[in-house]
C-alpha cells in the first residue's frame, strides 16, 4: 500500500511557501530563535533545583512524598538487602521479577523466592503473576521526582510496569538535577544506539478518571519503592 508521502510533503511546502506566520507574542525576549537554542534555555524557567547533591536528594525525597513514592536512603548494600527482605516479608511476596544488572543482582543476593528473569525473554503470564519487579535505572531526576529507566537498566519494557510493586535500586551518583541532564546522560551513554524504550516514571500508576478522585494502581504498579544507596 502506498501512502501519500509525496502529496503531503507537497501540500506542506505549498502551505509554507511565501506565507509567513506572525511570530508568537512573547513577553520575554528569547535571545535566539528556538532552532538555535542550546537545549538549556528552559532551565531559566523550569522549577528550581538545588545546587548541591544533598539539596537535590532532599528535593527528590520531598517530591516522592507527594507522589506516594516510597523513598528510602540506605548507607550500604547490606542495609538495602535488609530493607528488601522486610518488604518481601511484609507484602507476602511469593515470586518476583528481575533482570541481570550489577546492583539488582547484589540486592537480590540471598533472596530465596522464585525469580523470573527477563533479560533473555519471558512468558508474559509468568511475569504478570509476579508480586514485584526489581530493576535498576539510568538516573533519578531531582526536579520531578522521576526515575529514568531504559531497556538495559530495567530489564526491558514490561518488568517495571507489569508487576504490582516496582522496586528500584539507585546510587546517589545517579541523581541528576533535571530532565535536560537526563537526556544529556542518555546521549552520552548510548551515542546513536538508543535503546528502543526510555521512560520517566514519576510515582506509582494512578488515575483520576472516576469523579477526578485519585486512585493508585490503575494498570501499572500500585506501589513504587526507590532504594537510594550512597555511592
Amino acid at each position: 500500500m502506498t501512502g501519500g508521502r509525496a502529496i503531503i510533503l507537497g501540500r506542506i511546502r505549498e502551505a509554507l511557501r511565501n506565507n509567513p506566520a506572525p511570530r508568537p507574542h512573547t513577553s520575554h525576549s528569547q535571545s535566539e530563535a528556538a532552532a538555535d537554542h542550546n537545549g538549556h534555555a528552559q532551565r531559566e524557567w523550569l522549577p528550581k533545583v538545588g545546587e548541591t547533591l544533598p539539596e537535590r536528594i532532599d528535593l527528590f525525597a520531598k517530591i516522592s512524598e507527594g507522589l506516594t513514592t516510597e523513598f528510602h536512603r540506605v548507607p550500604t548494600m547490606s542495609a538495602a538487602r535488609d530493607l528488601l527482605t522486610k518488604l518481601a516479608a511484609e507484602s507476602g511476596w511469593k515470586k518476583i521479577g528481575s533482570h541481570s544488572h550489577h546492583d539488582v543482582d547484589a540486592l537480590l543476593e540471598g533472596v530465596e523466592l522464585p525469580i523470573v528473569r527477563t533479560e533473555k525473554g519471558y512468558a508474559i503470564d509468568n511475569l504478570e503473576s509476579c508480586d514485584a519487579g526489581i530493576t535498576g535505572c539510568d538516573v533519578l531526576v531531582a526536579q520531578t521526582g522521576g526515575i529514568m529507566v531504559s531497556v538495559e537498566s530495567a530489564g526491558g519494557r514490561a518488568l517495571s510496569v507489569l508487576p504490582p510493586h516496582h522496586v528500584v535500586i539507585a546510587r546517589t551518583s545517579q541523581m541528576v538535577p533535571d530532565l535536560t541532564a537526563a537526556f544529556e546522560h542518555v546521549k552520552q551513554k548510548y551515542g546513536k544506539q538508543f535503546p528502543s524504550f526510555l521512560s520517566f516514571i514519576t510515582g506509582p500508576s494512578r488515575t483520576g478518571d472516576i469523579e477526578r478522585i485519585l486512585v493508585l494502581g490503575a494498570h501499572g504498579p500500585k506501589r513504587l519503592t526507590v532504594i537510594l544507596l550512597d555511592s
Binding site: 500500500m1 501512502g3 506566520a21 524557567w45 504478570e128 537526563a182 514519576t202 494512578r206 486512585v215 501499572g220
Partner: protein, 468 residues
C-alpha cells in the same frame, strides 16, 4: 441553518438547563485548578516557559517538512515503518491491512484522540476485530458506546453510581460506590486483554526529529503495557506533533503535565525509538507510525491561525472555558471540544457547517491565557467569524449590521435615533420577554435596562454648551 448548528443549540440548551450537571462538572474541575496553580507557581517563570514553548513550536511548524523527514529517516533506520496518510480513510485502511496481514485477533488501545478523529474503532469492529480501550475513562465511555467527553478526562461527566451500574450490567461486577474498587474491576478485566492482544494501538504526544522517537504521556501505565506486550505496535501521529530536539521534551513534558492535569510530571513519559531491537528482551516486533494529515495542511496554509497546530492537546483551554463548563463536551459534536476544537474544526471539517462554534463564545480569552503554547485562541474565533461572514454571510445579520454601520457612520443619524429610542422605550416595556420582543432571548432571564431620560450627549450639550 446547518444541522450541526441546530444540534449545538439544542444540546447546549439541554445541558445548561441541568444545574446539577453543571455543578458536577465545576466540582470536578476545582481540584485541578488548585493543583495547576501550585505547579505553575513552582516554575521559576511560567510565562517565560510559555514563551519558549511557543517559540519551539513556531520553529517546528514553520519547518514541518524538514523535521518530518528527519524524524522519518531516523525512526525508519531503527526498523519502524512510517505510513503517510492523507486522510482518515487511508489511515484506517492501512491499519486494517496490517491487522489482516498479521492475522491479528485482539487489539488493545491506549488513549488516542487521533483515532477518535478517524473513527478507527468502528472500522476495526466492522471487520470483526475485538478492540479494547485500556485507559479507564476511555474504557468506561467505550462500554457506554459514547465518545470521550473531554480530551483528557473522557468520563468526567459520569458519577461513580453510573459507572458502578455500567460495570454491573456489562461486566457482572458487584455494585460499589468506591472509585478504588471500580478502578480495580477495570484493572482485572484489562490485565487479561494486555496479555492476549496481538496488536497495540496508541496515540503520540510528541515526535522527536533529532533522535527519531515518539513520546507518549500517560498516568495509568496502560500505554506502556499496550506498547510492551503485543507483537505489533501501531502509533497514530498527527503531522504537527514533531519537535526538533530531544531536550525540547524537558520543557514540554512538565508543561503538559501542569497545564493538562495539574501535575509536576505525568506518571509515565515514555520515548520509543523503534520496535524491539536485536538483543532486547521484549517489545513489539513491528512498529508502524501512521502519520496523519487529514486536512491539517489546510490549517497550515492559513498563516494567521497556523499557531493552532502547536496544540499539545493538554485540555487546559477546555478546563477554564466558561462555555465548555456549562455546555459540556457532547454539545460540540466534534472530536476536539472546547476552544481549541472551535478554532480548528472549521479547518478540519469545513467552515460552513462548523462556524457556529466560533460564534458560541463570549470571547473572554480565558483559553488564550491558559494555553501553554500561547495559541491565540480567542482571536482565532474572531477570525473564523470574519471568514464565515465573508464566505457565507447570514442575510439578517448582513442587513442589520448594514443599518448599524449607516447609523453609527453618521453622527447626526445616531443622535436622531437616540431621540427616537426614547420615544419608543415604553414599547419595550409592553413587549418585554414576549415573542414580540426582539431581545427576548436575553430578557427571558434578565431585566432589560431602561434608557436614560436623556443621553449623556444631550446632557453634556445642555450643561456645557458649545464647549467641545
Amino acid at each position: 441553518m446547518a444541522t450541526q448548528s441546530a444540534d449545538f443549540q439544542t444540546l447546549s440548551r439541554r445541558y445548561t438547563a441541568d444545574k446539577g450537571f453543571r455543578a458536577f462538572i465545576q466540582k470536578g474541575m476545582s481540584g485541578y485548578y488548585k493543583k495547576r496553580d501550585l505547579n505553575k507557581a513552582n516554575f521559576q517563570d511560567w510565562q517565560g516557559a510559555r514563551d519558549l514553548a511557543a517559540e519551539i513550536k513556531y520553529e517546528a511548524i514553520n519547518h514541518l517538512d524538514k523535521y518530518l523527514l528527519e524524524f522519518e529517516a531516523k525512526i525508519t533506520a531503527r526498523g519502524a515503518k512510517v505510513f503517510w496518510a492523507q486522510n482518515a480513510e487511508s489511515a484506517r485502511d492501512y491499519i486494517l491491512k496490517v491487522a489482516e496481514e498479521n492475522n491479528v485477533r485482539s487489539i488493545i488501545k491506549s488513549k488516542t484522540m487521533t483515532s477518535e478523529e478517524i473513527h478507527l474503532n468502528d472500522a476495526l469492529e466492522k471487520r470483526g476485530f475485538g478492540v479494547f480501550e485500556s485507559d479507564l475513562g476511555e474504557y468506561i465511555v467505550q462500554l457506554r458506546k459514547e465518545p470521550p467527553f473531554h480530551l483528557v478526562f473522557p468520563a468526567m461527566h459520569l458519577t461513580r453510581g453510573q459507572i458502578s451500574d455500567l460495570f454491573q450490567k456489562e461486566l457482572g461486577s458487584e455494585p460499589t460506590d468506591e472509585p478504588e474498587k471500580l478502578t480495580m474491576i477495570a484493572r482485572a478485566v484489562m490485565r487479561r486483554k494486555y496479555c492476549e492482544a496481538d496488536m497495540g494501538i496508541s496515540g503520540t504526544n510528541f515526535a522527536v526529529a533529532e533522535t527519531g522517537m515518539i513520546s507518549i504521556t500517560e498516568n495509568e501505565g496502560n500505554a506502556r503495557l499496550t506498547t510492551s506486550l503485543p507483537k505489533i505496535h501501531v502509533a497514530l501521529l498527527g503531522i504537527e506533533k514533531v519537535l526538533p530536539k530531544l531536550e525540547d521534551l524537558s520543557l514540554f513534558l512538565p508543561m503538559l503535565a501542569t497545564a493538562g492535569a495539574g501535575q509536576t510530571m505525568t506518571c509515565y513519559n515514555t520515548m520509543y525509538a523503534g520496535p524491539r531491537q536485536p538483543g532486547e528482551p521484549d517489545g513489539p516486533e513491528q512498529l508502524h507510525i501512521v502519520l496523519l494529515d487529514n486536512r491539517r495542511t489546510e490549517l497550515l496554509a492559513d498563516a494567521e491561525q497556523r499557531d493552532s497546530l502547536g496544540c499539545i492537546r493538554c485540555g487546559a483551554c477546555l478546563n477554564v472555558c466558561p462555555i465548555f463548563k456549562n455546555v459540556g463536551g457532547y454539545s460540540y459534536g466534534t472530536t476536539y471540544g472546547g476552544p481549541i476544537g472551535s478554532v480548528i474544526t472549521p479547518h478540519l471539517r469545513g467552515l460552513k457547517n462548523w462556524k457556529h462554534l466560533s460564534a458560541a463564545s463570549s470571547l473572554c480569552g480565558a483559553c488564550t491565557e491558559a494555553c501553554p503554547v500561547k495559541i491565540d485562541l480567542h482571536h482565532h474565533l474572531l477570525q473564523n467569524r470574519r471568514n464565515g461572514a465573508k464566505s457565507s454571510p447570514n442575510p439578517l445579520e448582513k442587513v442589520s449590521f448594514g443599518g448599524f454601520s449607516l447609523l453609527m457612520g453618521h453622527p447626526a443619524l445616531y443622535r436622531l435615533a437616540s431621540g427616537l429610542g426614547r420615544i419608543f422605550q415604553p414599547l419595550q416595556g409592553l413587549v418585554n420577554g414576549t415573542i414580540l420582543d426582539p431581545l427576548r432571548a436575553w430578557t427571558g432571564s434578565r431585566k432589560f435596562p431602561t434608557l436614560a431620560p436623556q443621553s449623556f450627549q444631550e446632557q453634556w450639550k445642555k450643561d456645557r454648551g458649545g464647549k467641545k
